[in-house]
Symmetry: C2
């Protein structure tokens, strides 16, 4: 028997759990992605959004300090104020690079370059719906316009992305033709956009991994959340080799919006905590969400990722017991990473004696397990009648404890 | 040339778009799933939830009329009122089958059977975290208890599901051992639960498809939304052969909740509209969400799937133009299926003249395209200064039109 072994004879080897493992994925960029933060472009398309110059500057500054790599702004041709604000934000000297999102034509591209942006996100609709009902252009025409714009933007020394719109309902041969031509012309990124929110994660993985094999430039992805897959689709795209993810604060955008910055960070911190915590000032997330929620006059949803008020609330007795022993039992995210705190609810009919024991100990009352179980029954009986707050449960515990003394 | 052809000579064949296609999937149950609706169990674990008997009955009745196949209720051993309410709901004669969610032991199982439920959802923690920090039982002990409980429940003529908890962090050999034993003992369903919300869609697909090959019973899945994948994971599970999906109204549950009923229907209606519209009274969704939101004192999130107030709002000029020509250009879901309506916003700096033309026509004002473009510039200039409501834009249009007359 080797000298280093200390286990007594007959002790079984310690059990190392082996959870279900995925097959290895060599394409994955899960630990290596960049944000195109689009609160000031896609977010401005949210129904309630009206950003004045001061608000735009506050949001851009906060996001740059948070650590997002790119900020995307509304096209300068949308309105005179949009143009002036774009130029003003370019002059702030933020750490984030500044992009603007423009239609695929020379007039828009020239106006964008004139504002001083670091790069242009060029977009054109490629689905048959958009060819028929929106711009009416053929793929050959789109290609010709795209190459002219790309050449111009590169000659001006700016970054350029070429994106199709509604990519998952576009003819696949058409968009591959365009992406390959754009790649050959030297674009920095091609963009895949699920403009209507129809894509599924498996479709995204298959399409992006096919595209990954066809172009050598970076791949940006943009997902709407109409069918609840905007976060999962962004993850699937990274797994398939995408490099840049479009997000906005609280996901605000057209209709019910796009991949939310906070929700996507909730997803990624469980997969590469080191990458996420080293790049982004996570403790600032709530402040930024509150800033944007105020600006567009919405409440942060009760069930918002990480910052929603119940995100770290635990209630069922069976959960509370384990949470008190070891938080990771029922938490995949550590609330402290985001400056948030956990709360174990004991004032409900679903509570258990282990949760109550924890509160009894916090109150400094010496009680036996039998006594804690008895007062737990009193709490559950009262909670069957009406909801109880922490003051109610404390009163029940204290009055039970006083009775014990007499 | 065949007589049926009417195209003039030299016309190219009509272009049929061929979007990216997935490889065929023979496991998929995307067009064949059932709901385990858990607002009255998982939902009762939501921080704010306190349901009195009357509210429980209202919710159960509304969900049954909506068409959910199963209703899951809190364990009757949670409290005396929980037991009485469970028995009362069983006596209502609802179309939905009634289940209760109980720990894996004989006392809980007997109490559940005594309430008159149609079935029991048995659960036990199988991860090393839960074995260590919660119940402290080995897999061999779990198996023995599970088989005793399953045999008893079947002997009482009820449905029985056996579920692991925290399945994605459990030892895979352990849970497969338990699932196979439960299957052999005649369970109706085995359950896979992502209790902490850590699973990714690709993991779910691989784990469930592996399980699908190992058991012959139905497969139920339960996904928490901590990392934003609860809807996508439920879809991935169906694609891999799962049969039953746990949902709650607005997703309410522990922490930020589980797969939401409405959001999941948004996902599924785009994949099998016939199945979804034939089984569920979709026009009742908003009423049920409002009922539950009131009962737990939350606002329906601004970005809620389908019923959130901006879910069918269109704002950017480039979008509005196409939406007015053909709604499916920017809508993957028809709002009318859910009794909702579309709204095209024209009072912003992002608006376009096609959207304004549509409002001008609604107002019955005869104006040329040149005139509409001119008034659009007036609207954009004003919207650069402050947000505009529909009354503001109507005033601008009407006063411009009056000027034209003079």
């Amino acid at each position: 028997m080797p000298a280093t072994t200390t286990a007594p004879e007959g002790t079984p080897a310690p059990h190392t759990p082996r959870p279900f493992q995925m097959s290895q994925n060599l394409l994955s960029n899960v630990g290596n992605f960049k944000f195109i933060e689009s609160t000031l472009r896609e977010g401005e398309q949210f129904s309630n959004a009206f950003f004045d110059t001061e608000t735009k500057i506050k949001i851009a500054t906060a996001l740059s300090e948070f650590g997002v790599e790119y900020l995307e702004l509304t096209s300068p041709v949308a309105s005179p104020q949009s143009r002036d604000d774009c130029a003003a934000i370019c002059k702030l000297g933020l750490k984030s690079k500044i992009l603007t999102h423009v239609r695929c034509n020379m007039d828009d591209a020239r106006a964008a370059v004139a504002t001083g942006v670091d790069g242009l996100d060029i977009v054109i609709g490629t689905s048959s719906y958009l060819q028929k009902y929106s711009h009416g252009k053929s793929i050959a025409m789109i290609k010709e316009m795209a190459l002219e714009v790309i050449e111009y933007v590169k000659s001006e020394g700016r970054e350029v992305r070429f994106s199709s719109e509604d990519s998952f309902r576009s003819d696949f041969d058409d968009i591959m033709t365009l992406y390959k031509a754009a790649d050959a012309a030297g674009v920095d990124r091609v963009g895949v956009a699920d403009t209507v929110g129809c894509a599924t994660p498996r479709q995204v993985y298959e399409l992006v991994s096919t595209l990954r094999g066809a172009v050598s430039c970076d791949i940006e992805v943009h997902f709407h959340d109409d069918t609840g897959c905007a976060i999962a689709n962004a993850l699937a795209a990274l797994e398939a080799g995408a490099t840049h993810i479009d997000v906005s604060v609280l996901g605000i955008g057209e209709r019910n919006g796009i991949t939310p910055l906070g929700g996507f960070l909730a997803r990624m911190i469980t997969l590469d905590r080191e990458y996420v915590t080293s790049r982004y000032k996570l403790q600032k997330l709530k402040e930024i969400e509150d800033l944007v929620a105020d600006a567009v006059e919405v409440n942060v949803p009760f069930n918002n990722y990480i910052t929603g008020y119940s995100a770290f609330h635990h209630k069922a007795g069976i959960h509370a017991k384990a949470i008190l022993n070891a938080p990771s039992t029922y938490e995949i995210i550590n609330p402290e990473d985001f400056g948030m705190t956990r709360f174990v609810h004991i004032g409900s009919r679903l509570t258990g004696w282990n949760a109550v024991r924890s509160r009894v100990d916090q109150l400094g009352l010496p009680m036996t397990d039998v006594q804690v179980k008895e007062v737990t029954q009193k709490i559950k009986a009262m909670a069957d009648v009406r909801p109880l707050g922490i003051d109610d449960t404390d009163s029940i515990i204290r009055s039970y404890y006083r009775e014990l003394q007499t």
